[in-house]
Symmetry: C2
Subunit: 730 residues, 2 copies
């Protein structure tokens, strides 16, 4: 193993080490008054209870899937024999990252509130570094998993002719993403339903019916609402990006092994480890970036945003330089072109984040127009929000269109013969890796949000002084801005990763057939003869647009997106209804709640949200897992190829529509609450509250769940490719 | 020309003759009291004014496009020389159909009201036969256009080897659909914006602010609202189905010419005229069906529905039998299989209609659940509506998936070699023809709706007696049911037609290259050698899913759907806002309106809606027209192929989502108004009114406009294929 490779495990250990350091350091701070401690303990207990319940269900699902994979591998022989083990490590590591991230976040909130009693800078740094625990744990565990398995497989898989060994290793490793995908599915769907059931439930009875403010301790659902922020935005977001980070690196490694197969063993090896190295260096730069984040007392929103920006942007700027150095050091041919693809990936990420900001922040016209539509009532506000949300989807789609055209073009030299095609696909993969390389710090800014939000909630519930609350409010408002760009980043990276995974899927089909099914009758048994087998491959599987089976697959892909979004949407409605009933019951049955004399039964609300989320997440999740298998069984590889394309393209658009419409409604409401258009309590405000509630499942449940769906469908197709190849009806 | 072909022009003349007969007959009835006449005149005048204005704009667009086509044909030589002329006839015929249909509908409404003063059966028959004027004019003019051009081209295009003549004729004729598509685009988008701007505007000020009922003569926007029903549902729907009817026949003729190229001249000819004959016989059966519709006094909703059903179902059942006879008479090979495809098409249409009914009628759970969600306010009602609407899209998508799999399979014998592929694609085309064959009568049931609606409005405004109004109400309620299934039918047929057009597009690419560009360097200059050139074609244009250009195209297709829906949605919002301002102004400035002492200025509201619709329709329409050309210029045939697939699949899903969510909210409101869940005036009712208003642009503007988008994109790509082939960047 060349020395440079050891950067990967090293960066992993550094990331995990610093995560531990930030955690320990944070734990050294004081949680404040007894009441602050008590409320934080409530939230922590609720989050812990949710996670335990969630992991119980997930463990059962994992056990079943592992058995199925084992049967496929050892009985039917249509599955890679390493998959059952790797599936478990991927799932376990992702779960672990969620566990630590949530622990850090829930331990941090009261400490951040307490730090805000002294200074804004102290609060910001503490909150941000708690977020960094999540960010660094995620990237650290991904890199640990990848480097460990790469070493193991490199040791065990025998040498083979003409680059087949590396192709086999990377094709095997890609399937490891399945564990992370499955974990992410439940984290996003379950967490998303939980958080919005609690939120909508709390708002409907608390704000609308009882007329008490948000985060009021008299509202029985308020703790569940705070738990939801952690469950949805920390654990869910973390698992989502864990999957993207792992998926983009693994897909690109496989695409590298395929593209560089004719360039000699060393070059092929270097192309495979290039994405790992970029991620490793990006991780070290993220750690550096975290230390750069600080602010001064009385900082404005703009200054706070700049403080975070310094950390994030420095890491991003440095990775641009370092990735060129890495590619140069590896001596890859056309390294300028490949570097161009990485830069394109980074710019695409920034562009999508900016467009999310533009379409959802009240500083810009779209959200203002939505707010102004409230003057003719909720109907026009909602029409405007949906219209604007639909339009807004076209910008990130356009960015991805330009992005993949250029990322492909730079790496392929804008050539379209078969060999260049493989180079270009490697370029698309490495663009995704570039976008995600500094995930350690970008995820820290995401996970920072719920910490600040909970800190604000804690201050509110404990009725701390004006000064403290203005500090926590400032941190919270910053969190809302980072949440918007963070969502854009998550969706954009999911789309790019999914496209890289899609390209890798086709490689997987070839490798699987040759290596594991041993079907010399198929015209693709001679992989190194790239050009000829490429055409044969397309012809054999008819993955072209004149084949109705491909169109059928695409239609099923679109169908899946609509069905899945609709089901998660309705799931929130049903779970929220239960919460509404419970809150109403407590207001009715527990005397003295409204006067603040009796404590509501927070735990029951937490339990109801937990149970509701667990019940509701199962069916949509199983559908997402089963559709690729069923389509594979009926329509084979052509059908599955279409399915993936349909899911990715329409799922991406739908995810942005939902995230942006939801974010815009949220901020339109806040804009009115700031005193515009009549301010709090006006008819316009009431209309905007309706919009905000509709936006809740849009932006925090159905939208983000689609990030997972588009990646999971590909992963599930990758691991069950043996089924589609061996048993398909058509 | 074989004798059997003359059935086509004959059926056309029969349809036009009966349309004239029904119109004349209707005109013989009395319009009733002076006030009834006056109100009908208001609506007629408004509709006429709208149509004149609309046709002026469309004439300019047609002039520009014709010039462009002429340059492409005669200067650049990248366009079929017949296209400029054919483009004009298609557009003119479609416009003519809209004109006659609207004339009939606006002359009929008061007469139907008046007939209802005597009997329910009289009212039903009159209303239905007025609708039949539209239905028969549409199919008559389509068949006239097609048969005339077929005779002309058959005369002028020289004989060529090996079936090339028919391939050329049908490829040329397909481009004629462009005129109908362009006309339909403006009719649907403009009409859709008009009708909902008037409706939402009237509701917002009239119902919500002033608290007066619908169709109250004191509301200045009420005439505009009634005009809108005609503009949107008669002219818009008619142009939409004109396009589907023409497109499905023309696409299938071309697919037939390609599939049967190796079967000898006679067989190829018969395959080409088969779709025309099926449409011709279906048209004659439609006329028969119209005569079967009658009812008795005091009929219940169920009985009324049955009365319509007898007409529609008899025609449908007979076409099943007759189409088998036609195929047998033509002696086509595998005529049982092709007949199976036709039957599948018919069943798919029925299935989609039924699913629309299930998801939007208050007799079933989905709409009831949405209504029940009103108990926790508008937010939950809207969440539920969107969730259910999204889920509902999966059913018609599933039906189309099964439908095209079987339609393809029956005609191809479930074989996937190149020759069978062409057969299978012919099967998909003829399934669309089967679905649309009895359009004469199904469109009559659609156009019946606005006539009945306007008749009800007239009765309401003239404050006719209870008995008369109960009769018009019964007719109106029936219209609402047929509107729901009619919408499903329109979307389903648009999707099947678009898929047939897509298959035809690939044929068009080949024919264009060989015939008009004379590029022997391309590997597809030997069309009769189907198998070899087929693979070459795919390879040359790389229209497979591993090509990122194809994926880019699909992404742009999805982008177009979201952008177009969002723009039409916001257009309604803006146009409605102007209407709201005007109605508020009239209530303020014209004293005595509310007391019924002064007449509001109806004409001004009509003018505002007209102007608003014309202004707002231009940008989205131009985008729809330009995107295929721009994608062709940049990304070539591979990009355009992807674009079409992306647009059709996601546009279809989005259209159903919008139509069903909108329909369900509408009926949830009506369900509450019937006295359920608190009835009229309750908080629940208010919540449902919000849902209904949001649903208005969903179901009547953005949703139906997508029907056009998915067909128009293909048509625009077909006529500009020379651009993509000759000048593309990639």
């Amino acid at each position: 193993m060349p020395v440079i490779f050891w950067l990967v495990p090293l960066s992993s250990l550094l990331a995990l080490g610093f995560a531990y350091y930030f955690f320990k350091n944070m734990m050294g701070y004081d949680e404040g008054t007894d009441m602050m401690k008590q409320i934080a303990a409530h939230v922590r207990k609720g989050a812990g209870a949710y996670l335990r319940q969630q992991y119980k269900v997930v463990a059962i699902v994992f056990a079943i899937i592992t058995i199925i994979f084992a049967i496929m591998a050892y009985v039917l022989g249509i599955q890679n024999p390493w998959v059952p083990f790797a599936f478990l490590t991927g799932g376990a590591f992702s779960g672990l990252a969620g566990f630590f991230g949530m622990k850090a976040a829930t331990f941090a909130s009261a400490r951040v509130t307490n730090a805000c009693r002294t200074s804004l800078d102290g609060g910001l740094r503490l909150a941000f570094r708690s977020g960094a625990v999540m960010g660094l744990t995620v990237v650290g565990l991904v890199l640990l998993d990848i480097s460990a398995w790469f070493l193991v497989l490199n040791h065990f898989i025998p040498e083979a002719e003409m680059g087949m060994k590396l192709l086999t290793i990377t094709a095997t490793m890609l399937t490891f993403g399945m564990g992370a995908s499955t974990q992410a599915l439940f984290a996003r769907v379950g967490g998303g339903i939980y958080t919005k059931a609690a939120d909508v439930g709390a708002d409907l009875v608390g704000k609308v019916e009882a007329g008490i403010p948000e985060d009021d301790p008299r509202n029985p659902a308020t703790i569940a609402d705070n738990v939801g922020d952690n469950v949805g935005d920390v654990a869910g977001m973390g698992a989502d990006l864990f999957e993207s980070f792992a998926g983009s690196i693994l897909a690109t490694a496989l695409l590298g092994a395929a593209a560089f197969i004719g360039f000699g063993a060393e070059m092929q090896f270097n192309a495979v480890i290039a994405p790992m190295l970029i991620a490793a260096v990006g991780t070290m730069l993220s750690i550096l970036g975290v230390f750069l984040v600080r602010t001064k007392e009385g900082a404005t929103q703009k200054q706070l945003l700049k403080s975070l920006g310094i950390g994030v942007n420095t890491s991003a700027a440095l990775i641009v330089v370092f990735s060129l150095l890495i590619l140069y050091a590896l001596g890859l041919p056309n390294y300028w072109g490949i570097w161009g693809s990485i830069v394109i990936g980074l710019f695409a990420g920034i562009g999508i984040g900016q467009s999310t900001e533009y379409f959802t922040a009240s500083a810009f016209r779209p959200t203002r127009n939505i707010a102004e539509a409230s003057t003719t009532g909720p109907a026009t506000l909602i029409i405007k929000g949906i219209g604007t949300g639909l339009i807004s989807a076209s910008v990130p789609l356009g960015i991805i269109v330009v992005g993949i055209t250029l990322a492909f073009g730079f790496s392929s030299g804008f050539q379209y013969d078969a060999a260049s095609l493989n180079m270009g696909l490697y370029g698309i993969g490495i663009a995704a890796v570039g976008l995600l390389s500094t995930l350690g710090i970008t995820l820290a800014t995401d996970a920072y949000g719920p910490v600040a939000d909970n800190a604000g909630g804690n201050a509110e519930m404990c009725q701390l002084g004006e000064e403290v609350r203005s500090r926590t409010d400032a941190l919270d408002a910053l969190g809302n801005t980072t949440a918007a760009t963070g969502k854009g980043f998550a969706i954009g990276s999911a789309a790019l990763t999914a496209l890289a995974l899609l390209a890798a899927y086709f490689e997987e089909v070839k490798v699987m057939i040759v290596k594991f099914l041993d079907r010399p009758d198929m015209p693709i048994n001679n992989i190194p003869a790239i050009d000829a087998q490429f055409i044969d491959f397309i012809h054999h599987y008819d993955i072209h647009l004149m084949n109705p089976i491909v169109i059928v697959g695409i239609l099923i892909g679109v169908l899946s997106v609509f069905l899945f979004s609709g089901m998660t949407m309705n799931a929130v409605g049903r779970a929220a209804q239960k919460m509404v009933d419970e809150v109403r019951r407590q207001f009715r049955d527990i005397p003295g709640i409204m006067e603040g004399k009796a404590e509501p039964d927070y735990a029951r609300c937490v339990a109801i949200s937990t149970k509701g989320a667990q019940q509701e997440m199962l069916v949509p999740s199983l559908i997402a897992l089963l559709i690729p298998v069923i389509v594979g069984l009926i329509f084979g590889v052509a059908g599955v190829s279409g399915l993936l394309v349909g899911t990715i393209t329409s799922g991406f658009a739908m995810a942005i529509f939902m995230a942006n419409a939801g974010g815009a409604w949220d901020n339109a409401k806040k804009y009115i609450e700031e005193g515009n258009l009549g301010g709090k309590g006006s008819e316009n405000h009431k209309a905007s509250v309706v919009g905000d509630m509709i936006g809740d499942p849009f932006k925090d449940t159905s939208g983000p769940s689609l990030n997972i769906l588009i990646k999971l469908m590909v992963m599930a197709s990758v691991v069950t490719v043996g089924v589609a190849v061996s048993y398909s009806l058509f």
